[in-house]
């Protein structure tokens, strides 16, 4: 394989490896945080004793790595490079060289971000959201100098890369489809990638503008975000009526659609996998596809629900609460659609199917707390508590990661021509499922008890939080179990890639075109999910099969 390959499948594997590197780094950081929360004075190997600012740096880098370099790359552009051209019956992406450039820019962004650990004063501490004035003033804390500059550069490069990748994907989906591959014959994954590409195009270029403004505030003496008379370390640094709220608006206009960029591909993949492993057609295909689009578009007008307690106009808060709760409707349509597929299907509980079911379970469990947090009144109490941490780790992180696992187990034969080990896969699934709930579900209780997030330790009247100490310990043990269960996955991936069972063609008896034999170049005459359950057996018609002449 050439280093600067333009082959989309090789690039897809490279994206997945990049996400793997980022997820390993991000997981290690989170383990350090969890251990520190329970045993704050323990000296850890390589880290030593964690200082309060180190903890904030861990939070920042964990969030940035996971959200940008794992949940944005793997489910969207990683998997899309792996199978999107085949799924629509194209030979390659529309702009292969642009595509390769996007990958190498992403890799550069990851390197620049990781470099922040090694500059004087270390990584930034202002969270993955980088709220000013903390992020706008180098003197505001350790890591807010060179570390923060590297963070901004990294995300700026990432914005450019995502923008290029989205242009490539949109043009590919619009103009490279095989003859007969109409809109209603697209696999649901392609619909999801279409929506996420539109979102990526719109919000990452907007984030780039915000990052330029923040960079300018830091280095060129402007005052977009730093308020009048802002006092940092005994010096007044604000020299204009800059508005920190402006950054919140700009950031969350990006940040909320970003959540959908992370989770919509999983929804598309879950639809495909449910149809495949339940041997059922997708009921209401057009509705399901339309709802993906509706979720994406509504996602553009809900950013204010991250800012209820920020001092925003309360009337605006009400409007954002309404749009946010409206998202529950298309999400419910999707969930009911999936349940309808599963109901009465002939379920084949293979590892990818199990992970897709896990995705569904997390999507529901985490989604149910969404409308709670969407209420400004409830959010006034729950904001910045562990309840929020529980919510987004279930609905975005775990659902997103489970969809990535489902995709890796499912498409592994396309990458290596071998199958992953099913026994290890199922073991991996069950431990991960139980440990993930064990890690993130109890966080609801910590949050309801009022435990704030981003606090290095709960000093002061410690008795008020002694009641949740056992809960916190349980979370940490569960997190350690969750992380160690991933060693099974890593072993499975690398062992199966070398010595796994050789996959037959179309091992999952799927219908979509990425499983088509090499010579199939016919026009598409069938829908994406033509499975049927007959009296005693199941039958299916892949998309590369010609429709029988009915007349």
């Amino acid at each position: 394989m050439r280093v600067f390959t333009t082959n989309h499948r090789a690039l897809g594997i490279l994206y997945l490896l990049l996400a793997l590197a980022a997820v390993i780094a991000g997981t290690l950081l989170s383990l350090v945080m969890r251990v520190h929360r329970v045993w704050p004075d323990l000296a850890l190997p390589f880290f030593g004793t964690i200082k309060p600012e180190d903890y904030l740096a861990l939070v920042t880098m964990h969030g940035t790595l996971m959200i940008f370099f794992v949940l944005t790359t793997a489910p969207q552009i990683g998997f899309a490079n792996l199978v999107l051209p085949e799924q629509i019956g194209a030979r390659s992406m529309a702009f292969p060289r642009l595509n390769a450039a996007a990958f190498w820019l992403t890799a550069l962004a990851l390197l620049v971000l990781l470099a922040a650990f090694f500059v004087p004063q270390g990584a930034p501490i202002s969270g993955w959201t980088s709220y000013p004035p903390l992020s706008a003033v180098a003197a505001a804390g350790p890591g807010e100098g060179a570390g923060m500059d590297l963070w901004l550069m990294s995300i700026g490069i990432f914005c450019l890369a995502s923008w290029l990748g989205a242009v490539n994907m949109l043009v590919t989906i619009l103009s490279e489809r095989r003859a007969g591959m109409t809109w209603s014959r697209l696999p649901m994954t392609v619909w999801a990638w279409l929506v996420t590409s539109i979102l990526t195009l719109l919000v990452f270029s907007e984030l780039l503008a915000a990052i330029i403004l923040l960079f300018s505030d830091r280095h060129f003496g402007s005052s977009f975000f730093v308020p009048q008379g802002d006092l940092v370390n005994g010096h007044i640094v604000g020299h204009g009526d800059g508005s920190p709220l402006l950054w919140l608006h700009l950031f969350w206009f990006f940040g909320h659609p970003e959540v959908y960029i992370a989770v919509l591909p999983g929804m598309g993949l879950a639809t495909s996998l449910f149809a495949n492993f339940a041997r059922r057609r997708v009921p209401g295909y057009r509705l399901m596809a339309a709802m993906l689009l509706v979720i994406g578009l509504l996602g553009l007008v809900v950013w204010g629900h991250h800012m209820f307690v920020s001092g925003m106009n309360p009337y605006a808060g009400t409007a954002f609460a309404l749009t946010t709760m409206a998202i529950a409707i298309p999400s419910t349509v999707e969930v009911l659609g999936w349940l309808t597929i599963l109901w009465g299907g002939r379920l084949r509980l293979t590892t990818p199917m199990l992970f897709a079911l896990g995705f569904l379970s997390f999507f529901i469990a985490g989604g149910l707390t969404g409308p709670i947090l969407a209420q400004p009144v409830l959010d006034a109490y729950l904001h910045n508590t562990f309840f929020v941490v529980a919510h987004f780790h279930l609905v975005m992180a775990m659902a997103g990661v489970f969809s990535v696992f489902a995709g890796v187990y499912y498409w592994f034969p396309l990458m290596t021509r071998r199958m992953m080990n099913e026994t290890l896969g199922k073991l991996h699934f069950w431990i991960t499922l139980i440990a993930a709930y064990g890690t993130f579900f109890p966080m609801h209780f910590s949050g309801l008890a009022g435990e704030p997030r981003h606090y290095e330790r709960l000093a002061g009247p410690i008795t008020s939080f002694s009641a949740i100490a056992a809960n916190e310990r349980g979370i940490t043990f569960s997190a350690l179990l969750l992380a160690s269960a991933q060693l099974i996955f890593l072993w499975n991936v690398f062992a199966s890639a070398r010595r796994g069972r050789v996959a037959e063609a179309n091992p999952w008896e799927a219908t979509t075109l990425e499983w088509a034999p090499e010579m199939a170049r016919a026009r598409v005459e069938r829908g994406p999910y033509e499975y049927e359950i007959l009296a005693n057996e199941t039958n299916f018609h892949p998309q590369w099969e010609l429709a029988s002449k009915q007349e």
């Binding site: 619009l174 780039l208 402006l246 170049r521 010609l546």
Partner: protein, 253 residues
């Protein structure tokens, strides 16, 4: 029985030679040819002589849609920052926003940019002039290139003059005491908006130079059309963005 391994009769494709087989004109075959005449139904790479052009145009369109959001973000920041303020000791709401008078040279620059869009369009149209395109396609000289180059050069010159004019406007403002880091937010936004637009236009000028060179290097008329066409759409969009941004700077201070 699973139908996976069953061989199916593959539809026989018409053996046409693809993109080189037909001249790159926007003429779709009409009637008489049966189903094979619908280019959309052919495999990718054989969808008529304009397939590549359409693909690149779409790419430029989407890239510019993202770019539009970049400027939308700047403009919304402009309005939010304009309305920001604080209460002074006497409970008066004061704002640090002072409207910035535009240097008059910007009007001349705007006129030049509009003119450059016209010359760009003339250059673009030469590449789609049917008789010349047929000549080039048949290998009878390069009349389209010959006609387009003066217009391309004119656009290049006008674009460079625009950039020089923007530079002069910045110089004038600096002499009046408005620097980027002066405390006035309207001055930040002026430099930021004209600066980011200027960078985009600089990229456009580079693209013009590259397109000019490419006209003599590229061996296929289709590709020559693509470089000029895509540069032209980028150029027109930057002109349009400038008109909106200039209107913002003039009318909404």
């Amino acid at each position: 029985m699973p139908a996976t391994f069953t061989r199916h009769p593959v539809e026989i494709e018409r053996k046409d030679t693809g993109i080189g087989g037909k001249p790159p004109l926007d003429r779709r075959p009409t009637g008489g040819g049966g189903d094979g005449d619908n280019w959309e139904n052919r495999p990718s790479g054989r969808r008529g002589p304009r397939e590549l052009l359409t693909r690149y145009r779409l790419g430029v369109l989407f890239a510019l849609a993202g770019d539009l959001m970049f400027f939308v973000a700047l403009v919304s920041a402009f309005f939010v920052r304009q309305s920001a303020g604080h209460f002074d000791a006497r409970e008066n709401y004061v704002s640090d926003w002072h409207p910035l008078a535009m240097p008059p040279i910007l009007w001349i620059n705007t006129a030049i940019l509009i003119l450059s869009s016209l010359t760009m369009e003339m250059a673009r149209r030469q590449l789609f002039h049917e008789i010349d395109v047929m000549d080039e396609w048949l290998g009878l000289g390069r009349p389209a290139v010959k006609r387009a180059t003066p217009w391309l050069v004119a656009t290049f010159v006008l674009g460079s003059v625009f950039l020089a004019g923007q530079w002069i406007a910045w110089e004038q403002l600096v002499q009046q005491g408005f620097r980027y880091n002066s405390p006035d937010p309207s001055s930040h936004f002026f430099y930021l908006i004209t600066g980011t637009h200027g960078i985009h236009l600089l990229l456009g000028v580079i693209a013009l130079a590259a397109a000019f060179g490419a006209l003599f290097v590229l061996r296929r008329i289709e590709l020559r059309q693509i470089v000029v066409d895509c540069t032209a759409w980028y150029w027109h969009t930057m002109g349009l963005f400038w008109i909106f941004l200039f209107a913002l700077l003039v009318c909404f201070q």
